[in-house]
């Protein structure tokens, strides 16, 4: 059974408690002066913002505004050209490979295209989440995984309503199911932050609504901070407490979601 819900008034009240000037101790993500160029094209220009612990932030902006690049730079999946990123109190600049892996292990990343290993089962894909804390062949395939890991992975699949598809190959799942498996893999990491890069862009509206509601409700249950990019303005308003708008690589708006309406956000794209 799916354990998800649509946003309630309680969520709205959580949103209204958000204040951009929270104490530094409660900041999960801090980005300062981030700049990224591809050749001569500047994709991100001096981007700075902080995200409070446990909050849900939506990043919006037209295609090419730099949303995905910003998320990738926050985990150094793309190397920024300038600026700094601090995640959960750790400065990412200058971290070596193992230090970077350690920080990344605390951050779940849900990709637009799910990025599952298609030839492996849904369960094996969720087991991969344990690679954030233990390495080696026992974390590669569900058949090799220790009992505790398999049981935890099954629990995660249960959370996303796919325990009955545990042995199905990932490439035989629908788009919505694949994305739910990807969410289960992220949860298997026991993350403190989740980055979701247009998590429902490749899904039909119904599946998209389900997946988005599921992601946010599971994150809230666990007190996980979420930063997601979206083109769906309704999702930004319904699920986020704060909306950051990017235009041509710079932050052009940043405020509580309650300050905006669909019309206002649409005007931002104009």
């Amino acid at each position: 059974m799916l354990h998800h819900r649509l946003p309630t008034e309680a969520d709205r009240s959580v949103a209204s408690e958000f204040t951009p000037s929270q104490s530094p101790a409660a900041i999960d993500l801090s980005v300062r002066g981030l700049t990224k160029r591809f050749g001569s094209m500047e994709i991100l220009r001096d981007v700075s913002f902080s995200v409070a612990k446990g909050s849900v932030v939506a990043l919006i902006g037209a295609n090419g505004a730099g949303k995905s690049t910003l998320l990738r730079c926050c985990l150094r999946l793309s190397e920024p050209d300038a600026g700094s990123v601090e995640i959960l109190g750790t400065q990412l600049n200058g971290l070596n490979h193992s230090g970077l892996a350690k920080t990344r292990s605390k951050v779940g990343f849900v990709f637009q295209k799910h990025n599952l290993c298609g030839r492996l089962s849904a369960l094996s894909n969720v087991v991969h989440g344990v690679q954030s804390r233990s390495h080696g062949p026992l974390s590669w395939y569900q058949v090799l995984a220790p009992r505790a890991v398999r049981e935890e992975a099954m629990e995660m699949l249960q959370c996303v309503g796919l325990a009955h598809r545990a042995t199905s190959r990932a490439d035989q799942l629908s788009g919505g199911q694949s994305q739910r498996v990807a969410i289960a893999r992220a949860l298997m990491q026991r993350p403190q932050i989740i980055f979701a890069d247009e998590p429902v862009a490749s899904l039909d509206p119904t599946a998209g609504e389900e997946v988005m509601a599921l992601l946010i409700s599971l994150a809230r249950e666990r007190g996980v901070t979420v930063v997601f990019t979206t083109h769906n303005l309704r999702h930004a308003l319904d699920y986020a407490e704060r909306i950051i708008g990017l235009r041509a690589g710079s932050i052009a708006m940043d405020d509580r979601a309650s300050c905006y309406s669909v019309e206002k956000l649409r005007a931002f794209y104009a």
């Binding site: 985990l75 999946l77 970077l100 892996a101 350690k102 920080t103 990344r104 292990s105 951050v107 779940g108 990343f109 990709f111 295209k113 799910h114 990025n115 599952l116 290993c117 298609g118 030839r119 492996l120 094996s124 991969h128 989440g129 690679q131 954030s132 390495h135 080696g136 062949p137 974390s139 590669w140 395939y141 990807a182 893999r185 992220a186 990491q189």
Partner: protein, 270 residues
């Protein structure tokens, strides 16, 4: 009424202009080909003149002599066993070598170039030369042939496994990198499963190739049925030679047929 030719849309010329460099290269290739024909003694007339000899050989071969069929079958089994063991061990050794020979997963540029060079070296030296070397090293018999097949298989599979690994979808690898997986975890969890169909197909090709090779290796004393064929030909016992050729044909045909069926099944299942 049709428009006059001058007013109709003109198609571009069929061939681009040949640059002076291209023209020079074409002339050089043409000249090399002519000299090669001359120096290799290529003569259609001599081939026609030799046809009666081929006919005489064929008539002397019939009917095939099955008097030593049990010895021939025993040698044929040994031939296949050499190919099977050689391919099995070669494929196993090729796996780690191929990982080191990929641009994306090799720990360093030096290791990458070194491994590529070794694999190329293994591939460019003909298996018959390897067999000669191993006959000197370990003595006459099938073990020398098996070692030659192992080296030849590494040269073949090492390259194609590496290429298969480099071609797999980057998405799942990035997802694992984002959650803090190690380089080995990424290879084991995402790269190997995705490259597996291609690697199995390559291994089956390798087994077919090894079966054909192992027939010839006997000629230099490296075990297998080749030695039987050589003896029969040297003693002008063409009827026995035909029996051996038919047995070789049957073995290669069976291996190719089984290999082809497995390969098609894997491709269909992908």
């Amino acid at each position: 009424m049709r428009e006059p030719v001058s007013e109709r849309l003109q198609a571009p010329s069929r061939f681009g202009r040949t640059s002076p460099l291209q023209f020079t290269l074409l002339v050089a290739v043409g000249a090399t080909l002519i000299f090669s024909f001359y120096d290799s003694g290529f003569s259609a007339w001599r081939f026609v003149e030799g046809m009666p000899n081929i006919w005489r050989l064929l008539t002397e071969m019939f009917p095939p002599d099955f008097s030593r069929i049990s010895a021939v079958v025993a040698q044929l089994i040994e031939t296949f066993q050499m190919a099977f063991v050689g391919t099995f061990v070669g494929v196993l050794l090729s796996l780690p070598i191929a990982v080191l020979a990929t641009r994306t997963h090799s720990p360093s540029r030096i290791v990458y170039y070194l491994t590529r060079t070794v694999v190329s070296f293994f591939r460019t030296i003909p298996d018959l030369v390897w067999a000669l070397i191993f006959v000197v090293a370990v003595g006459l018999g099938p073990f020398a042939g098996t070692l030659a097949i192992i080296v030849d298989t590494i040269g073949f599979c090492g390259r194609f496994f590496a290429e298969a690994m480099e071609e797999v979808d980057e998405g799942p690898q990035e997802a694992l990198r984002a959650l803090g997986a190690s380089r080995l975890d990424i290879v084991g969890s995402a790269v190997l499963p995705a490259a597996m169909p291609s690697m199995i197909a390559t291994s089956l090709f390798s087994l077919e190739k090894a079966t054909r090779s192992s027939v010839v290796l006997g000629i230099v004393g490296a075990g297998g049925i080749g030695v039987e064929l050589e003896v029969a030909m040297n003693l002008f016992n063409y009827q026995q030679a035909l029996t051996i050729i038919l047995a070789i044909f049957l073995l290669v045909l069976i291996v190719e047929q089984i290999g082809g069926r497995i390969r098609n099944r894997i491709i269909a299942g992908t």
